[in-house]
């Protein structure tokens, strides 16, 4: 059990800190949340800076264009960038954390050469077209059809809840290529250009009033066969690679962020008088314990995954606890700020945003199913 940095890790941390200290003050002001083109430009410009400094795709393998850092160094990267208040991955999320790693793991040499460098440089933004109106938790029930026509697939159907669709260049798309096969066996993974004829994006307004995600209408969109990842009908397995990345370290920096938020909230409580309320003070203390332990759980999971090569089911335990704890954090914030919680302010925005955490990337119920079946080995019901 070693939690401190090795000399190499300490060196990595020191250089990164230096670079962040020099670079962050040079950044332009962050755009308004509703300014999507501005956000894309801001997020990709940050990615470009990371690229130029050798920090793009820290944890990606070297032969995929990444830095090939160890999992511990990746965690140091997430921790330090968060502590320094660096921009969040934002619009680069799908490219860096889902689509890119999947292409790196499953793509041909040509596909890796085509797709990976632009993700690392911040030139191209990806979105994830998995969910459909009738296929959410039961993702394998997806129905968007792809029919082979010469050297292309012709795709017709629709996707929903697609984050960043408005500003994306590419979509990692799951389609059904064999309607007769059992549902997990007839799915194929395609990289679809978002400006292809037949793609329509309709932004959806979230409960926070913003347009975080969109609905995609696909009407006979032609996708070259060369943009298929893995074999035809093997898309489910390919997808599972992506999802395990999603549940690995995707929320790690947010665990660090939440610890900071607990402290910020404690300061707000002291300033506003809520600190005198014993129950509230203890609730903050319990959140502090929770997020500290969650960060330790990330370190544990990463150490285990480093030994095995792939993120394990421990990610589900983390996702489950983290999403609920994050909701509890902003519910507590509402008690700290009192009636201000009814006004549209920064704490409220986070409280609203937080409601998605127990839904997106596998609902809490689905995480419990995974823990019960895969970790505890409980039987499937009839």
């Amino acid at each position: 059990m070693q939690l401190s940095d090795t000399p190499a890790e300490a060196d990595f941390r020191r250089r990164l800190r230096e670079w962040l200290g020099k670079t962050l003050p040079e950044l332009p002001p962050a755009p308004e949340p509703a300014d999507w083109p501005g956000r894309r430009a801001y997020d990709t410009a940050w990615q470009r800076r990371l690229f130029d400094a050798g920090y793009a795709g820290v944890h990606w393998p070297v032969d995929a264009g990444g830095r090939g850092a160890t999992p511990s160094e990746h965690l140091i990267f997430l921790e330090e960038t968060e502590l320094a208040g660096a921009p969040y991955v934002g619009a680069n999320f799908v490219g860096l954390l889902h689509a890119g790693p999947t292409v790196a793991a499953e793509g041909t040499p040509e596909q890796r050469a085509r797709f990976l460098p632009p993700i690392l440089r911040g030139d191209e933004v990806w979105c994830q077209g998995f969910s459909e109106p009738d296929a959410g938790s039961d993702l394998a029930a997806l129905r968007t059809r792809a029919v082979r026509d010469g050297d292309a697939y012709v795709v017709t159907g629709g996707k929903i809840w697609t984050s960043h669709a408005e500003v994306a260049d590419w979509c990692e798309l799951l389609v059904r290529t064999d309607p007769q096969a059992p549902k997990h066996r007839g799915i194929t993974w395609l990289a679809m250009r978002m400006d292809a004829p037949g793609v329509t994006v309709r932004p959806l307004r979230t409960l926070a009033g913003t347009t975080e995600f969109a609905e995609l209408f696909l009407d006979e969109v032609r996708v070259p066969v060369g943009d298929r990842l893995g074999a035809e009908n093997d898309g489910w397995r390919v997808t599972m690679v992506t999802l395990s990345f999603e549940r690995g370290t995707a929320f790690a920096s947010e665990a660090v962020a939440c610890r900071r938020e607990v402290r910020r909230l404690a300061r707000a409580a002291r300033a506003g008088g809520a600190w005198d309320d014993l129950e509230l003070r203890r609730e903050l203390a319990s959140l502090e314990a929770e997020f500290t332990a969650l960060w330790r759980l990330v370190q544990w999971n990463v150490s285990e995954a480093a030994a095995r090569g792939v993120p394990g089911a421990g990610g589900s335990v983390f996702k489950l606890r983290f999403s609920e704890a994050r909701q509890r954090l902003y519910d507590t914030a509402a008690r700290v700020v009192g009636t201000e919680a009814l006004l549209d302010g920064p704490w409220t925005a986070q409280r609203l945003q937080g409601l998605s955490y127990t839904i997106a990337a596998g609902t809490s119920q689905i995480q419990r199913n995974i823990v019960a079946r895969r970790i505890l080995g409980l039987p499937k019901g009839r």
């Binding site: 402290r263 314990a289 929770e290 500290t292 330790r296 370190q299 995480q367």
Partner: protein
């Protein structure tokens, strides 16, 4: 960083787990394998190990729900260099001062409300037996004025309090893991409506939450043992208490009517979890300690 157990740590844990699965080791056997000399330096006849190894051992003791003054005896040896059986007892905010298994003890390490530590010879304590809820942990109630005893230094007092809290958290985390294992084993075999009850999602989700609590507690205990940070120790105890107490309750629920019987022994998990919840530092104390760091 590599948070995984080292090979030696893994062997220590696995060996003890196996030994405790085969049968219940008695006090002499536990002493013989060095459970109470774990952190005593080698030149003084101990094993010269650290807190991380100690929490691994106490986690296994918790999983086996071992009885006896485990924590106090280890801490007395490691921190105060005292041989013999000892129990760490804190003067509670409410209720009588209760000492488990007093007649078998040599020392009572009494933590007073001002956080000072007095080492009392057990024989000098005026006490009477009190009916205990946990049948394997008989209690004595201290009566009259507490003897002054020998006052330990402030750093010793702090270490005794912190180590006792962390080792008790380790016991609780082991007990929580045991509760998950018992619940899952029962859920896989007990059938109702023509299928194992473990196939019902309501039961599955109870078990999944139990595991999530136990895992988070385990990792928190390990990390606190490595960092030695007082805030992390308080947090680990908080999470381990929650994992143990709620885990034992859920385990009882999964057992249905059987869980309410004396024979099924599920109640022993819960009763012990309640006892350990009050040992070391209790919930309020942990929360208040954490709040001072915020």
């Amino acid at each position: 960083m590599d948070f995984r157990l080292t090979e030696d740590q893994g062997r220590l844990r696995d060996g003890l787990r196996q030994a405790l699965t085969d049968r219940r080791l008695d006090w002499e056997e536990l002493t013989g394998i060095g459970v109470f000399q774990l952190r005593v330096p080698e030149q003084d006849g101990g094993l010269g190990l650290g807190l991380p190894e100690a929490v691994l051992v106490f986690e296994e003791a918790g999983r086996a729900v071992l009885s006896g003054p485990l924590v106090g005896t280890e801490v007395a040896a490691a921190v105060l260099g005292l041989g013999g059986r000892a129990e760490v007892v804190r003067v509670p905010a409410r209720g009588p001062v209760l000492v488990p298994e007093l007649p078998g003890l040599d020392h009572v390490l009494l933590l007073r409300p001002d956080d000072s530590l007095a080492v009392l010879p057990a024989a000098a304590c005026d006490a009477s037996p009190a009916p205990a809820v946990d049948p394997d942990r008989p209690l004595w109630r201290l009566e009259g004025d507490l003897p002054p005893g020998e006052r330990a230094s402030a750093p010793q007092a702090r270490r005794v309090a912190a180590d006792a809290t962390l080792l008790t958290a380790a016991l609780q985390s082991g007990l929580a893991a045991r509760a998950v294992a018992e619940a899952v084993a029962y859920a896989r075999t007990r059938e109702q409506f023509g299928q194992p009850i473990g196939a019902f999602q309501a039961v599955q989700h109870l078990c999944a939450d139990m595991l999530a609590r136990a895992e988070l507690a385990r990792v928190a205990v390990y990390a606190a043992a490595v960092s030695g940070d007082p805030g992390e120790i308080a947090g680990a105890k908080l999470l381990a208490d929650e994992a143990a107490v709620r885990g034992a309750r859920d385990c009882l629920q999964v057992h249905g009517g059987m869980g309410f019987t004396w024979e099924a022994r599920v109640h022993r998990l819960l009763k012990r979890a309640w006892a350990w919840e009050q040992a070391g530092a209790d919930r309020d104390r942990c929360l208040d300690a954490l709040a001072t760091h915020l």
